[in-house]
């Protein structure tokens, strides 16, 4: 980079950016053509493969697949409690999925959502404990939300800064930070803050998020709560940021072609740092769901793999904020469905299916798309050949 030409003058920079934009737009219709099929294809292909693997696993357990799948659907979308639980799990997964996707758009692999989520949840719980009892919810909830996002952003900033300044692989740093953050939180909770005989902090005194069950009797017993509104807002905000702001454009430019982006005047290290902070903040937001929406305290191990599942969510949602909401619903259904079928097959069945979906999306889907595209090209070529024959 240092040997490259000096930064081009301002005029030219704007020019290059606009040509980039124009070119991207010119490609739009072409992409939308396969995009329409492409949008629905990954989940469908992945689910088909997962269904086959699921059948085999269930058969290997000596049970009938139809019975198991019926139980799975009934236990999730078949009643208000099931739906409530799915929505509760969707909330966390949407946040960690958004966290992974936002970083992914900038070419960064944030494998650290697990630690960022836990740290965010701890931040919310700590503030919730420190606020004076009786602080009105309208003040306490946003403050706790801010705390969760700030702490998450703080944890995300470390790999961001190391990547921006030293070029350290964010994949490795985030994995290592997961262990460090969880061990650190474990230490604080077990030696300073816990309720005796438990692994959780004392309950928060202000900042609880209302549950759906408080408003709609049908959801009684389920953990569904209004944090999901924030998750949806976060998805909308992410979409707006990514596709409607200059910063989002720069973020995507860095993800597509870091060298070109730098030459076009984007301050790449800055973008990397800011993106990792935002990504961490989104994961931290997910920690609120458990702390403010469900239990009312921070408990060790509450993240329970939701951080890693966010990777699956982002993949199936094709790194698009709205796709992620749908993908989060899918994986939340699988996760809750595992509990529903646990009586006859181990609940890990759906965890295996989750991993199969990830592998399928990463391998089979691009392959199927390639085949489809080749087939489409053949049809088009044949069409033109025939048309030419018709003329002559």
């Amino acid at each position: 980079m240092s040997t490259g030409p000096a930064t081009p003058p301002r005029e030219q920079q704007r020019d290059m950016q606009s040509t980039g934009e124009v070119r991207a737009m010119a490609e739009m219709p072409a992409r939308a053509g396969i995009g329409l099929a492409g949008g629905f294809l990954p989940p469908l292909v992945a689910l088909a493969i997962a269904a086959v693997v699921g059948d085999l696993l269930i058969l290997s357990f000596g049970e009938a697949p139809s019975t198991v799948f019926r139980l799975l659907v009934e236990g999730t979308w078949g009643n208000a409690y099931g739906i409530g639980q799915v929505l509760y799990k969707t909330t966390t997964l949407a946040c960690t999925g958004l966290a992974f996707a936002l970083a992914g758009r900038a070419g960064l692999f944030n494998v650290g959502a697990e630690g960022q989520l836990a740290a965010g949840g701890f931040g919310a719980a700590l503030l919730g404990m420190l606020l004076p009892a009786g602080t009105p919810a309208l003040v306490a909830v946003p403050l706790c939300l801010l705390a969760a996002m700030l702490v998450g952003a703080g944890v995300g900033a470390v790999p961001g800064a190391l990547r921006a300044k030293f070029g350290a692989s964010e994949v490795i740093v985030t994995i290592m930070l997961n262990f460090i953050a969880l061990a650190f939180l474990n230490w604080i909770v077990s030696s300073k803050l816990h309720v005796p005989e438990t692994l959780h902090t004392p309950p928060i005194v202000a900042g609880m998020m209302p549950r759906f069950a408080d408003s709609f009797a049908a959801f009684r017993g389920s953990a569904a709560n209004f944090t999901i509104v924030f998750a949806v807002l976060a998805a909308v905000a992410s979409w707006w940021y990514l596709f409607r702001t200059r910063a989002g454009y720069e973020l995507r430019a860095v993800g597509l072609q870091p060298d070109a982006a730098e030459y076009g005047g984007v301050r790449v290290p800055r973008v990397l740092l800011v993106t990792m902070c935002l990504s961490g903040a989104l994961a931290g937001l997910g920690g609120m769901n458990f702390v403010l929406g469900y239990k009312g305290y921070y408990e060790e191990g509450f993240a329970g793999g939701a951080g890693f599942l966010g990777i699956a969510v982002a993949l199936v949602g094709r790194n698009h904020p709205f796709g992620i909401l749908g993908a989060a619903l899918l994986f939340a259904t699988l996760s809750q469905g595992g509990l529903a079928v646990n009586a006859i097959v181990p609940k890990q069945l759906t965890d295996i299916l989750t991993a199969v979906v990830i592998l399928a999306v990463a391998t089979a889907v691009p392959e199927v798309q390639k085949q489809l595209r080749a087939a489409a090209a053949n049809v088009t070529a044949a069409f033109y050949r025939d048309a030419r024959k018709g003329v002559s």
């Binding site: 930070l177 262990f179 061990a183 993949l315 295996i352 391998t363 089979a364």
Partner: protein
């Protein structure tokens, strides 16, 4: 005497790290990111318990570990080499898959959510006293793994090609090296080594328990990076991490440092190393690129 105990315990603890890290070096040297080490180890541990349980002796356990490791490696190889899927994504998926699958089959086969029944391991109870662990052939495999790998990488034609494939696959291909085949071989070696590391854990504890690798695959990966992909340096890193763990166990009674902080040492060291304090790390140039 205390020093000798410390040393012996460090070696015992280092064995799974040494084996998995050797696998990690092999995998990354041929250009495949070794994020799946944890899954390979866990599969190896489960395969070892199964083999030892049904075969009635630990050698069957080792065979079981190699089969289980090969199965996981096959999935990884197909996804990354045949379909060119993103290696980070595949690595994370493999780890999730193995955790879930071992739990699933733990219930299917042993009807337990947490652990297998007791299985035969190497060395009877009390035999050999303090040096008991050295009747275990896996210990010797662990001690030999990285030196042998160093010899293979730097002194054999296979090693030369492997390094070429990890650094400049196009150039290697031009010279007639079958890049994909060589990467597959590298991955199979990596999977075998990592699954032996898992087998050590299961046979040492005479059972498989849920998620018993507990992040050791990631520590091994940390050692690979910390040792800058050089087998000898990686071996030193493994011993360093194992020493810290031994220290933690020895200090547990005295409560001088909270155990959580000692747990962090390998991870913090890795981050520090990555940030360039120890010197710019030079990853194999083609790492993660299979286009």
């Amino acid at each position: 005497m205390i020093l000798l105990t410390f040393l012996l315990q460090t070696i015992r603890i280092a064995i799974p790290y040494l084996l998995a890290a050797a696998g990690g070096v092999m995998s990354e040297r041929v250009g495949i990111i070794a994020l799946g080490l944890e899954g390979m180890m866990l599969a190896g541990a489960f395969g070892a318990a199964l083999g030892s349980y049904y075969g009635g002796n630990p050698w069957a356990g080792l065979a079981g570990a190699l089969v289980a490791g090969a199965m996981v490696t096959a999935v990884l190889a197909v996804a990354t080499l045949r379909y060119k899927a993103n290696q980070v994504v595949v690595g994370v998926a493999i780890n999730l898959l193995v955790v879930a699958a071992t739990r699933f089959y733990l219930r299917r086969i042993f009807d337990s959510a947490s652990n297998s029944p007791r299985v035969p391991g190497f060395g009877g109870e009390g035999a050999g006293g303090m040096f008991a662990s050295f009747v275990n052939p896996v210990v010797w495999m662990g001690l030999a793994a990285l030196p042998v790998l160093a010899w293979v990488l730097y002194r054999t034609p296979f090693g030369l090609r492997a390094r070429a494939v990890g650094e400049k696959p196009e150039a290697a291909a031009t010279l007639g090296v079958a890049v994909t085949k060589l990467r597959l071989q590298g991955l199979l070696i990596a999977g075998s080594l990592a699954s032996l590391g898992g087998a050590y854990l299961a046979l040492d504890q005479h059972q498989f328990s849920d998620s018993m690798t507990a992040g050791r695959g990631f520590i091994a990966l940390a050692a690979v990076i910390f040792g800058r992909w050089e087998p000898v340096r990686v071996a030193v890193a493994c011993l360093l991490f194992a020493g810290a763990e031994t220290l933690q166990i020895q200090l547990q009674g005295s409560q001088m440092i909270p155990s959580q902080f000692v747990e962090m040492i390998p991870y913090v060291l890795t981050i520090v190393a990555l940030a360039g304090v120890v010197g710019r790390s030079v990853a194999p140039a083609a790492l993660g690129k299979t286009e």
